[in-house]
Structures are given as C-alpha cells and as structure tokens.
C-alpha cells in the first residue's frame, strides 16, 4: 500500500487533488481510496486530503498518519500546522514553492531523508501560466507523477479530463505536463550531481 497526504487550504482543490490521484490509480487498474480530513469547510482553512493506492481492496478507514508521500500545496502551512507529522526518511516530499528546502528552513529537518525524493516545484506558476489561475493541484500531481514514478502522466491527464472539461481540463493537463517535465529535469540534474 502506498499512502499520500496532501496539505493545503480550503479553496485550493486539495480534496480534488486526492480524488484525481485516485482516479489515475484506478485508471491504471489499481485500487485507490481518496478522502478528505473532514475539517470545517471554509475558504483558507487548513485542509488535508488522503489517497491510498494498492493492488487489492483497501479496507482501512483511518487517516493517513505515516504517509509514503507528502504533497504540500500551500507553503504558508509549513510552519503553522504539523504538516510533516509521521513523515519518514524514505518518504517523498513535494512542496509547491519557488524556494528550496534550505530556503524554506527545512534543510535540517530533511537532512536524513533521501534527497532524490525531495523537491520543491513552482506549481502555482505553472498553473497561472497554463490556466490563468494559481490553483496548483493538477500541476502538483504532474510533478508528483514524475517524482514518485507511481502514476503515469497519461493516467494523470486522463484523470484531470475526467474531473474537469473544456479549457479548464486542457489548461490543467498542460500545467501538469509542464510541472512533470520540470520535475523530471530537476531529478536528472540531482542524479547527475551526486554519485550513486
């Protein structure tokens, strides 16, 4: 089982991101369970959503407390909520930011983590460029597909098109593609910079 936790704020499409990730996993023939953290529904409030992916039926209903991957859609949460609760050094972390982990003040925290599984990606910028809005959920999923290798970009794009239609869908698919390619490029650089 692979467990993903997504942090953001009300109105940023965090719950939709978990849903789209589950749609992509389903599209690839896997079982997936996406659900929100059920907080009070209001704009701007911290929101958490979860997605579990497995090869067989998922029965557990507990929240994801020790995520294999963490996606942070809103970096202003980093020092407010316990975003990193339960994160383990082998886990993936993807943060929507133009800053690096060090610049975000997270360098010490992730020192023991596998650095090739940690990335920040300017997802809001990709979203603004391709959709005209800074709603970064689809872009982050594209980036996550590249970082984790868990889901193909094709499946992710189909999931975006299932959830949205018309220009909104195409803009978000383009944002996901751009973030995917950007992350793939960063990873290439990272793997080149450090001996295996």
């Amino acid at each position: 089982m692979f467990e993903v936790r997504i942090h953001g704020r009300g109105g940023q499409g965090v719950v939709t991101a978990a849903e789209m990730l589950s749609l992509a996993a389903f599209d690839e023939g896997r079982y997936a369970q996406a659900f929100p953290s059920f907080g009070s529904e209001r704009m701007g409030a911290p929101v958490v959503a979860f997605c579990r992916i497995d090869d067989h039926e998922i029965r557990t209903r507990e929240p994801v407390m020790e995520p294999d991957a963490l996606i942070v859609q809103d970096p202003t949460l980093l020092h407010q909520a316990d975003v990193f609760g339960g994160c383990r050094p082998a886990g993936f972390i993807l943060i929507n930011s133009i800053r690096s982990f060090d610049e975000l003040g997270l360098g010490d925290f992730v020192a023991s983590f596998r650095h090739e599984r940690l990335l920040t990606v300017p997802a809001s910028e990709f979203a603004r460029e391709h959709t005209g809005r800074a709603v970064a959920n689809a872009a982050l999923l594209g980036g996550f597909a590249a970082l984790s290798g868990l889901i193909s970009l094709d499946a992710m794009s189909r999931a975006i098109r299932e959830r949205f239609s018309g220009n909104v869908a195409e803009g978000n698919v383009a944002a996901a593609q751009a973030a995917h390619d950007w992350v793939a490029g960063e990873m290439k650089e990272l793997s080149g910079a450090v001996p295996a």
Partner: protein
Amino acid sequence: MPCQLEGSRAVAEAVALCRPEVICAYPISPQTHIVENLSQLVKTGELGPCEFVNVESEFAAMSASIGASATGARAYTATASQGLLYMTEALYNASGLGLPIVMTLANRAIGAPINIWNDHSDSMSQRDSGWIQLYAETNQEALDLHIQAFRLAEELSTPVMVCMDGFILTHAVERVAMPTQEQVDAFLPAFQPRQLLNPDEPITIGAMVGPEAFMEVKYLAHAKQMQALELIPEIAADFKEAFGRDSGGLLHLYRTEDAETIVVALGSVLGTIKDTIDELREQGVKIGALGIVSFRPFPLQEVRAALGGAQRVVVLEKALAVGIGGIVAANVRMALAGIHLHCYNVIAGLGGRPITKASLRGLFADAAADRLEELTFLDMDWNVVNRELARMGASRASGPHAENILRDVGPVAAGPV
C-alpha cells in the same frame, strides 16, 4: 461496471437506478452530495419520471415523502444528524402507517456540542422508530443496500433506513461496481402499494386508534420486522445471484470459526477492524469479527449463534447512551442471555475521532488478556475530562464545558489529521 466514484455519487446513481418517483430532501452535511447528485440527475432527465421536491426542512421532507408514498409513488429521501431529529415525529408516522419509504442516513454526531463529523448517535437515537435499519460497511455495500432496501420496504410495506458513515463513506472516492439499469429492473419489481390514496376510490389512511386496538396495530409493525428477519437474507441471496456479490444480509462474519475473541461492530470501522484482525491472526491471536448489517430488526438468534462459542466479545460502537453506556452492547447482551462469557463494551469514534489500527491493536490485546473494563472509551483524553471536573469542583460558576475544554485543547480541527 467498475468505476471510481465518491460514495455519495455512487449511492445517488444506485437510487436513480431504482427509479424513485418522488424525492423530497433538505440538504445537511454530510448527506448533501447525495441529494445534490440526485437533483442533478432529475434535472438532466437521466432520472425520470421523477419529481424532486425542494422542501423547507427535514420535517417537511419526511412529511412530503409520507404523502408521496401514500399515493403509490416510490419515495426516497436522505438526511443526517439534527435533520433526522427534526423529522422524528414524521419518522414514527411513516413506520406506523406502514409506508415503504427508503431513506439514506449519512451518519453524523448529534449536538450539543455542535459537530459535523461521523458517529452513530443519530441513527441509534431512532432505532426504535419502527424503521428497518441497515448499516453499510463500504460504498459498494451502501449502493447495493439501497437496491435491496426498496425491495424489502415495498414487499413488507415498511420504511427502511440505509445508514452509511458520514464523510468516511459519503466523501470517500473508491472503486464500486455499478449495476446496469436492466439488472436493477430485473431485481426490483414495480411498486405495488398495499394502501393507496386515490381520488377515484377514496379511502383514509391514518385513523385514530384507541386502547381497544392500538397494541394490535403496533404489534403489526413488529410482526413485519420479524418477517424482515427472514426476508433480508432471502433478498441478499437473490441479490448475490443477480449481481454476483455478497452484500447485505443480517450480519457478516469474519474469521470467527475458531475465534476466542469476537469483535462486534457496525459500518465502515469494520474495514479497519478486519485489517487489525489479520495482523493479530499472524501473531497467533484467535480473533474474528461480527459485522451487524441489520440493527433493526436485530437478529438475536443469529448473533447468539455467531458469538455463543467465543470466550469473549468486544462490542465496539460509535454511540453512547448517556447514563448507561453502549446501545449495541445492550442488544448483544440480550442475544447472549444465559451464555457465560465476557462481554466488553467499547465506545469509540464519537464526533469523528479517528479509530486507528494502533488503538485497535492495543484494545484487542487488552481484551484477549481480559484486561479491559466492562465499559471503555477508546482514546479518551482523561486529562481533559479531569481538568474540567476539577474546574467544576473548584467553582460553582465554572462555565460552559465545550468552551472551557477548547481553551485547553485549542481550536476545532487544528491538527494535521
């Protein structure tokens, strides 16, 4: 066809496949997505002929459902929590009149303190309202139970409540197999009302009945639920033949054959319980689970047969009868009358507190070693309770509990999960 859907959407589509003719509903979290989806299906014409009635309250929703059902229309509604309480008077009328309305209950806590999250306080408060109550473990079972519920309700002419955990199921996006219209049409015959308000052949429904016959009329509602004990497994067997799935029935057994400890629960928490049981089984603990699908009627004999051979029973429930303890446990103890075994009662998950595998592991280990109290509150923060009790002891004017405790623990839902 397998599809990946939100639970609310899956239930709405399943209800639509049952061809309801009148839907009267008032939105309330976490039921809202169900009726939103249904109103959309009516508006686009995908569900029709069907009248979607926007009413001004849950009392009106149930009252209009009663009227619709009495005219021979297949009637459906959905609610949760305070909404269920608001329609309570009409609930008793629906069952007392024997009208086969089907209602989804998206289980949610009851205030005060106000709380939108999941537990079973709402449906448990209406367990004796005369409605049949079925509890879904998964979204697949939730949608399957609705298809079975219309057949059950109409065959007996009694209303059925399908209970699914609010948010945990209603808002979970997961894989479900959606039946085809042809399959549902073949399984669910057209509604043949036992009583019908028809201007061409006028009758009245709802006469006043005095002491000379009230008990007899009330008994008939009980008799129908006793018939339901036979009918529910029959319908589940027919369903399996038609759809190829085990869904519904009176109860579900999981690894109980040689179990010394059997956990009893209702609804979605059974998934987490089963995973925990698998882990404990690997360590050699002889433990299993009994999931109750039909809480009303309560299958006393089947529960007795399933639990009677165990050494101990742990009834884990998401409701609290203030002043005595567990509600499900009281019913289970009635089923076990005369059998000597330990019956532990655990209150868990009130107001949406997550029920985690870690907590269940500890709980079941304590149970297996007979270290549990008769009544346990899972993951209760006794420091919080004791601080408030101390404040009450220290001052006559200690103030409101909820506000005092929030000052101790911080604002609502501020944690990461």
